[in-house]
């Protein structure tokens, strides 16, 4: 999950390998994509939630995403953020953490961030939030294998 245009769907497609079903969330026109990830003998359902800015819903997309989180109690949420705009993206991370949802933070678009000369102290961020953090550039496939490893490790090793 994450705000619009941060590369969620690219990551989703990578994890599911394209085994995807897209359907409207019941009673809405908001589309939710679901897919299966099968890796290292583990099979997981992956959900690509509509882009949201906050867990306090204003738009139909936000309403649907929150309902998904509320009713399906995910084993792990992967919060994908635009690394360039970390400051603006963190409030949603806070809300996921406050809700008590297990979270893996993915700083995406690292290629663009690096081009701007930005660097990140991953362990400091992990300490500040108390969750694992991964750097990725999903467009180039960077960081995605590691993301898959961590997801499997977290969910299967629970």
């Amino acid at each position: 999950m994450g705000s619009p245009n941060v590369g969620k769907s690219v990551i989703f497609n990578y994890l599911t390998g394209g085994r995807v079903q897209v359907a409207n969330y019941p009673g809405t026109t908001v589309e939710v994509a679901r897919g299966k990830m099968i890796w290292a003998g583990v099979s997981l359902e992956i959900v690509d939630t509509p882009g949201i800015y906050s867990l306090l819903p204003i738009t139909a997309e936000e309403q649907v995403t929150r309902r998904l989180l509320w009713t399906e109690k995910p084993a792990l949420t992967v919060h994908v953020v635009d690394a360039k705009n970390l400051e603006r993206m963190l409030p949603l991370s806070f809300q996921i953490l406050e809700a008590g949802l297990p979270m893996l933070l993915t700083l995406n678009m690292m290629d663009e961030a690096r081009r701007l000369g930005l660097s990140f102290n991953v362990s400091a961020l992990e300490r500040a939030l108390g969750v694992e953090v991964i750097l990725a550039a999903s467009i180039r496939g960077e960081g995605l294998p590691e993301l898959r490893e961590r997801v499997i490790k977290y969910v299967a090793g629970l």
Partner: protein
């Protein structure tokens, strides 16, 4: 995975959370602290879910939420601000290079700290709205496009063509008093476009600097008093340029309720640039008269908004916005956005002006305009104004420059009291036919008719009372001679 992550929302919000937590005993998929936060921010869906689980404690919970709803600033903005600050701290601590903020953290902070934020706001509005939109747009560009291009080229050309090729009623339709070219197109392109175009530029600039959400946050408190959220600053400010445009922009508000209140206030008590120009011309020489006008219109704005807030059903406006950092905007982006908005304006609003001139032409052909004017004479006289002013009011509604010019011509024969009364009533009166048409388009026939049905009597009633009040005061104080 995460234990103990916490944002401190300050004593007030934390106090409310502490009161809510012991009451939330049900089974929730989110931590109870998160549930409490959502409740305090006025989340309806969560409130309904809580009600189902908490049985006897529901009333207490609702009491607490209600209490929080009355806070100023509202919980939603306090919470958003606390998160924004914490995010800023963390991001600064973990990022190798400070965030891309050429404007710096100091300015960021100055625009939010009330003692400096309001003077900065005043400067932004003065230079942005008054000097740039009002000066460059409403005067220099209007003079050029309307005054030069239309008066010397387009209008004579259309009249020439009409006279040569068309029979009289049709020639009037193109280039008469209410012609599609001479009125419709001239208004849409010559008068409104420069104002709206410069406004769009200013607006896009504010948007790209990240200042707009700060403005909304600052204005939230004032807006709350009239049943709106800080977001409504945008259409209300735009109304000072063109109410018609602003009515379209009320779309950006979240709830139908807010949209109706904003539409109503725009129509009643937000004078557009054409009205402002007229009023300044009429009352500008008398600070006292101008002061009375500001006082009366301002009071009506607050009172009407407050009443609408009390009367209209539905949840109160909730304000929720992320605060982006301030940054230097890229000129190319601003130009692109402005161009996209102008295109949108031309497609959406120009037909309204063209349709309006078609309707006027028709009414004029049928002699109906004169009929309406004579019907207005009675109410106008009750305001203490000469009967001739009836035509001004109606024409002011249909064609603003006629109303303005008419009143300006009558100016010499009117006393300061009469001028103040006329200016006030004209401001409150439905601004123009194009705005009425947009109201119907955006809010539906019923709501638009209701709004007009409230505004017309209110305008006359206020004018009537003001006339009598000023009349009696003048006998004591001698304003009548001023």
């Amino acid at each position: 995975m995460s234990r103990g992550f916490r944002v401190d929302y300050g004593p007030t919000i934390e106090g409310f959370i502490a009161r809510l937590l012991p009451l939330l005993k049900g089974d929730y998929p989110f931590h109870r602290r998160a549930v409490a936060l959502l409740l305090l921010q006025g989340d309806q869906e969560i409130a309904a879910l809580t009600a189902r689980q908490e049985g006897p404690r529901v009333r207490q919970i609702q009491e607490i939420i209600k209490g929080a709803g009355g806070l100023s600033p509202p919980p939603a903005s306090t919470i958003a601000l606390a998160r924004h600050r914490k995010a800023q701290r963390i991001a600064q601590a973990v990022m190798g290079k400070p965030l891309v903020r050429p404007l710096g953290g100091l300015l960021d902070w100055l625009t939010l700290w009330p003692p400096t934020a309001f003077p900065i706001l005043a400067l932004v509005l003065y230079y942005g709205l008054y000097r740039f939109v009002g000066g460059l747009g409403a005067q220099i560009l209007v003079d050029f496009i309307e005054g030069q291009l239309f008066q010397s080229w387009v209008t004579p050309f259309a009249q020439e063509l009409g006279a040569r090729w068309l029979s009289p009623p049709l020639a009037d339709l193109v280039a008469g008093d209410y012609g599609m070219v001479t009125l419709g197109l001239r208004y849409a392109v010559g008068i409104i476009l420069p104002v709206v175009g410069t406004f769009f530029f200013f607006f896009s600039f504010l948007e790209d600097t990240g200042y707009l959400p700060r403005l909304a946050l600052l204005a939230d408190r004032a807006c709350k008093k009239v049943g709106l959220s800080g977001r409504a600053v945008i259409p209300l400010t735009l109304g000072l340029g063109c109410d018609t445009m602003a009515t379209v922009v009320t779309r950006t508000l979240e709830t139908t309720r807010e949209r109706i209140i904003a539409t109503f206030l725009l129509a009643l008590a937000v004078p557009c640039s054409a009205q402002l120009g007229l009023i300044l011309a009429l009352l500008g020489h008398s600070p006292l008269a101008l002061g009375i006008w500001v006082l009366v219109v301002g009071t009506i704005f607050l009172a009407a908004g407050h009443l609408a807030d009390r009367i209209l059903p539905g949840p109160k406006a909730v304000f929720h916005m992320e605060l982006p950092p301030l940054r230097l905007p890229v000129v190319g982006n601003i130009v692109m956005k402005t161009a996209a908005r102008i295109q949108w304006y031309l497609i959406e609003i120009t037909p309204v002006f063209l349709g309006t001139s078609l309707l006027l032409w028709f009414l004029d052909q049928q002699g109906l305009l004169q009929l309406i004017i004579s019907a207005l004479r009675g109410p106008i006289q009750s305001l203490g104004l000469p009967p001739d002013a009836a035509g001004i009011f109606l024409l002011g509604f249909f064609r603003r420059d006629y109303g303005a010019a008419g009143l300006y011509d009558l100016r010499a024969s009117l006393s300061p009291i009469q001028l103040t009364v006329a200016a006030t009533t004209l401001t409150l009166f439905v601004p123009c036919l194009a705005q009425a048409a947009v109201m119907v388009k955006e809010r539906g026939v019923l709501a638009a008719m209701l709004i007009v049905a409230i505004i017309v009597p209110v305008a006359f009633l206020v004018g009537f009372s003001l006339n009598h009040l000023l009349g009696s005061l003048a006998m004591i104080g001698g304003l009548g001679n001023g």
